[in-house]
């Protein structure tokens, strides 16, 4: 395997392709043309991303610098294995979600669809931008772009509830990024002189343990999209958005961007050696574990389906953080894999929630008894999705969870193993109690 750095504009194109489609989307005179633009962009984007796969699998890295914005930092793209993994997940699910959006938005006769599709495209651009960022500044740029592009989507209904949710969303996300990430980034830059993601991190040797701990925590909470408690409560609030938004953005793009950013910063900026030498990872593991357990417990008590899914997402995101913070090979593999596996499972669940709402107008679990008979395909898919999220074979979620479990074992800290297992039982509880209810009620009849 030869490690090579290849100069390529592909990452730039992959980011820009959905932005380029926006004028087309805006100027379209009919729904069909508008959606054709979306599909075209989505397909080209996926092809571009996939075309980089063979090169990356051979161990190469693709880079491209768009412009040198600061004397020694540019807006630079770098495609490595982890970034590509995330990009593939996001861009493939964009196509699927676009199909779904058409069904959902049309059947509910939603307003402002042009705005909706436009900002969706911006959000996806930003997501791919985060995935392909070569340094923290570029990542921050796309992170903010994603935050802002999501705001009109979250507040799509333009009513009171949307307004207060939008406020909450911005308060946490912008507050976190401007108030915590920005200063942390600048302090890092001041002491290390670089923001490039390096394989071993850049802080080692420049920053003492106290400051490193402070910065790590600032990054962890600042990237509020990852929803580590107490920075999580924007996510349930953001569920007022139309379901396709919740599905792609709040199960995949936005929240995973948070997780992705945290992973990138932990590995590429703070560095694993620093994390383990100063014992910072232990603190992160504890924070993540608390979030996992508490979120799972709250999820149990939620009656609104999308809110239950949201709390489930908060818990699952912390799996990723936990996996990375374990600092073992399996744990990390598990954490990264979980980005992909959870995405496919959770998006299925959101799609199902949306489909139920489309077909029946019901949002609350308590009113869904027996719906399995009426919508068998949807509910089967729901079952599969929940199996995957809980981590049951034969679903993708099992694989990532398996690696995570291996990771806890490798790390030798059995407490986290119990956290994992315990929370999986809770997951199983809140999903299967629901799933069985859906079918059993019908049987009773």
């Amino acid at each position: 395997m030869s490690m090579e750095t290849i100069l390529s504009v592909k990452p730039l194109f992959a980011v820009l392709v959905s932005l380029v489609a926006i004028p087309g989307i805006v100027s379209s005179r009919s729904q069909n043309i508008r959606e054709a633009w979306t599909f075209g962009a989505a397909a080209i984007k996926l092809l571009l991303v996939l075309s980089m796969l063979p090169l990356v699998l051979d161990g190469n890295v693709l880079t491209f610098t768009l412009v040198q914005v600061l004397p020694d930092i540019g807006i630079t793209f770098k495609v490595d294995a982890f970034g590509l993994l995330f990009a593939i997940v996001a861009s493939s699910l964009w196509i699927v979600t676009s199909i779904y959006s058409i069904g959902y938005m049309r059947s509910l006769n939603e307003h402002s669809q042009t705005r909706y599709f436009s900002f969706f495209a911006v959000a996806i651009s930003a997501t791919i931008g985060v995935a392909f960022s070569a340094n923290l500044l570029t990542l921050y740029l796309f992170y903010e772009m994603l935050s802002l592009a999501t705001f009109p989507l979250v507040t799509h209904h333009q009513d009171k509830e949307a307004r207060s949710s939008g406020r909450k969303y911005l308060f946490y996300i912008l507050g976190g990024s401007i108030g915590l990430v920005l200063p942390a980034m600048m302090i890092t830059y001041h002491f290390t002189g670089t923001l490039d993601f390096a394989a071993q991190g850049v802080m080692a040797g420049h920053i003492n343990s106290g400051l490193a701990l402070l910065l790590t925590v600032m990054f962890l909470f600042g990237f509020a999209k990852v929803g580590i408690m107490p920075m999580h409560s924007w996510l349930p609030a953001a569920m007022v958005a139309p379901t396709p938004v919740s599905a792609l953005l709040h199960a995949v793009a936005v929240v995973k961007v948070g997780a992705f950013s945290v992973v990138r910063v932990f590995t590429g900026i703070v560095g694993t050696t620093l994390l383990s030498d100063f014992g910072i990872n232990g603190i992160v593991c504890v924070l993540a574990s608390i979030t996992i357990v508490v979120a799972s417990l709250i999820a149990l008590s939620q009656d609104e389906l999308k809110r239950r899914l949201a709390f489930s997402t908060i818990g699952q995101l912390s799996y990723i953080v936990l996996g990375i913070a374990l600092l073992t090979k399996s744990g990390m593999t598990g954490g990264m894999l979980h980005i992909a596996m959870h995405a496919f499972g959770k998006i299925t669940l959101f799609f199902c929630a949306g489909a139920i709402f489309c077909a029946t107008g019901i949002k609350y679990i308590s009113k869904m008894k027996g719906i399995g008979r009426r919508m068998p395909i949807t509910m089967t898919a729901f079952l599969i999705g929940s199996l995957s999220v809980v981590g049951f074979p034969p679903c993708g979620g099992f694989i990532s969870k398996w690696y995570l479990v291996l990771g806890t074992v490798e790390s030798g800290n059995i407490a986290f193993l119990f956290v994992l297992l315990g929370s999986s039982f809770l997951n199983a509880a809140y999903f299967f109690r629901f799933s069985t209810m859906l079918f059993s009620a019908a049987k009773r009849r």
Partner: protein, 48 residues
Amino acid sequence: MFENKIDEAPLWCVVPLVITASISVLLFFYPQPFLKLASLAVQTIMGG
């Protein structure tokens, strides 16, 4: 509560969720692309 008549959401909604559900299952049997990428990434970080 519901009648036994099958009444799914519009086709445009059902197709995507079937796709993602099948991918979820597929990934159990064929996780190689993601697994390879993840282990490649871990390799660069952890070395070896």
